[in-house]
């Protein structure tokens, strides 16, 4: 029983955090809001150089051969800076999915991903729209129980604006055919992809919550009323403590889910749903209490809080909305089998 991250994993987290905090500033994010694609090729190239984009590509295909446990702390840091680039989605969802497909397909795409020459993203019916479809060199799209691979030339994209200006969502119109189909009876692959997407959203929600706490602590230390910093008031302190508590108790849930996905645990889906609920709930409380302690400033476009708050709101219902995940946990707990109780957590 070892529920810790190793030194390499922690060091990599530190390093990546430092890079992201330096590069992915609120100023950059606002700049990208004004750009056509909303994405930065330069930033993506830096992520490629760090080896991040191909982290989960097996070494045989030129990647780092790492797994979900290795990546989960990095996904938290992507959340902390509200990274607009679809790194988490490629690393956690697209690459493992490709890696489950026939060898010819793997050999075609994984080396290109590892080399930073191609971006591949996944569109599932649960999400209705496909995030960053405009930015991908290949889309893997769900059609019922089938998976299809389509290139930008084969699709028509209709932009749908999100509350989060960093999110670029598209309805994708395309014609499924025998040539685009890459997998039939792919229900298991689709569910695995959904779980990985939910895990990525949960990990980012942890980072977003941490960031909202830090912004609020800073703001309430600076803002004075009645002659003192408003952060000295218990009513304000307790709001922030009420974010710290659920955040603290969501972390291990997310880390366990990452481990379960990595080893293919029989209850991985339930673990992921629990993680998604716990982390997103913490982030929603984080958003609500953070805007409150920011007062009217929190309701403005100018103050950076909304960069993180809006991403938290959006992630809550992606890769399975809260109803989907709660029902998955409910079937596990309230079904025939006895799944609750002491001593069962790690079975």
């Amino acid at each position: 029983m070892d529920f810790t991250f190793n030194e390499d994993q922690l060091l990599f987290q530190e390093e990546v955090k430092k890079f992201l905090v330096n590069e992915v500033t609120p100023e950059l994010i606002r700049e990208l809001w004004e750009s056509e694609s909303g994405r930065s090729g330069a930033l993506w190239s830096q992520l490629v150089e760090l080896g991040l984009t191909g982290m989960t590509v097996p070494e045989a295909y030129g990647g780092l051969g790492m797994n979900e446990v290795d990546f989960v702390l990095l996904a938290q840091e992507c959340g902390f800076v509200a990274l607009p680039e679809p790194l988490v989605e490629q690393v956690l969802v697209a690459v493992p999915l490709i890696n489950s497909l026939p060898e010819a397909f793997r050999a075609e795409w994984l080396p290109r991903i590892a080399a930073g020459e191609a971006k591949v993203l996944v569109g599932l019916e649960q999400n209705q729209l496909v995030a960053d479809a405009h930015y991908a060199d290949l889309l893997l799209l769900q059609q019922g129980n089938e998976l299809h691979a389509v290139t930008p030339g084969q699709v028509k994209l209709i932009f749908n604006e999100s509350v989060d200006p960093s999110r670029k969502l598209f309805a994708v119109e395309w014609t499924p055919s025998a040539t685009t189909r890459i997998a039939e009876d792919a229900a298991e692959l689709i569910e695995a992809a959904l779980n990985r997407g939910a895990l990525g959203a949960a990990a980012q929600a942890l980072g977003l919550t941490q960031r909202m706490i830090e912004l609020s602590v800073q703001y309430t230390a600076d803002r004075q009323q009645f002659g003192v910093a408003i952060g000295t008031f218990q009513a304000v302190k307790h709001r922030m403590a009420n974010v710290a508590v659920p955040l603290e108790y969501a972390k291990a849930v997310v880390h366990r889910a990452a481990h379960s996905v990595a080893i293919g645990h029989k209850n991985a889906a339930v673990h992921v749903s629990h993680a998604k609920i716990a982390a997103c709930d913490a982030s929603l409380t984080g958003a609500k209490n953070s805007i409150q302690v920011h007062g009217a400033m929190g309701y403005t476009w100018e103050v950076d809080l909304h960069i993180f708050m809006k991403k938290a709101w959006a992630l809550n219902n992606t890769w399975g909305d809260s109803a989907f995940h709660k029902n998955r946990v409910a079937s596990f707990v309230l079904g025939e089998a006895d799944n609750a109780g002491a001593g069962r957590t790690f079975l």
Binding site: F3, K237, A241, V333, L334, G341
Partner: protein
Amino acid sequence: MDLAYTPEQQAFREEIRTWLAANVPAEPLKSFDTAEGFQQHREWEAKLNEGRWGMVTWPEALGGRGADLIQWLIFEEEYWRAGAPLRVNQNGIFLLGPTLMEYGTDEQKADILPKMANGTEVWAQGWSEPGAGSDMAAIRSKAELSDCGEYYIVNGQKTWSTRAVWADQCFGMFRTDPNSQRHHGLTFILVPLNLEGITVRPIPQLDGLPGFAEIFFDNVKVPVNRRLGGEGEGWKVAMATAGFERGLMLRSPARFQETARRLVNLYKENREAADRDPSVKEAVIRAYMDAEAYTLTTYQTACRLTQGGKIGPESSTNKIFWSELDQRMHETAMSILGARAELLPHAPAAQGVGNWLDGFLFAQSGPIYAGTNEIQRNIIAERMLGMPRK
């Protein structure tokens, strides 16, 4: 990261499971807040000690098993699963014991720990005073060194002393420097409750039973060798105890997982009635998830500590999480039981209510004792998040 138990850990689990199956009383003991129940629980402690299952985290030389935190969690899981009795001496075993090992003299350890372990001496705690609740540094009870230097003369009053009605001993802080302020000049003293000048006045709790008491000290002569740590170092010693109290030992996750399991079963058995309130189903799955989250987080912390990590201010989140979870779970059970929820277990119409009402009443104390949740939230905001004190 490897979330599988080692063969040794599994063997440890098997061993305790087997012992408990053979030894846990078939009939639940009476409440330890009754004279008869207290005695029954004292005997249970002796039995646990005979099997060397009383203080698994204590060193082997002291009758324990030198269990690490993971083994301790496994022990607790089996203990709660088996429905074994509550620990009447938990103030001693989990709070004072470890503090004594850290600060006690060899003589004190040899004298006190074995009797604590076998249940001969049950300990009450004496932190709070009428004027010192959340503000523990406002302690006014005095301990004055006698002219001969052989004993302290203790005067004053402690209150909310858990288990004090039938306990043999009490530990607490007393002001030895009459000119001192706040957390200075306090000394940690172990007081036998049979000394002359001590009056214990039981305080009936919400359930009518005297689970705690006031203790009055009127020129009580306590031998000086009952001081734990140096004179004036009481706050430091007490913080170690309060640290354990807030930390892992007081409320292991297994307790809440078992409550969650019982709640899930209560819901399954009364599903039709329960679903008339659409919020109940969600509350039940939340109880499950939160008990699991508490378990996972505790395991992660335990693994970190086992590998030499330090426990930080984030441990203040612990008390809030379990106490509010416990309250919510019992509230949900009350909702499921509906009109029967208010009935005491012996009421003729009370079939199937179990001991949920007892648990519900006790759950009201969780956010209050061991530092109110408001105090915990201040600690989180100031020490963990870095918000300004003033």
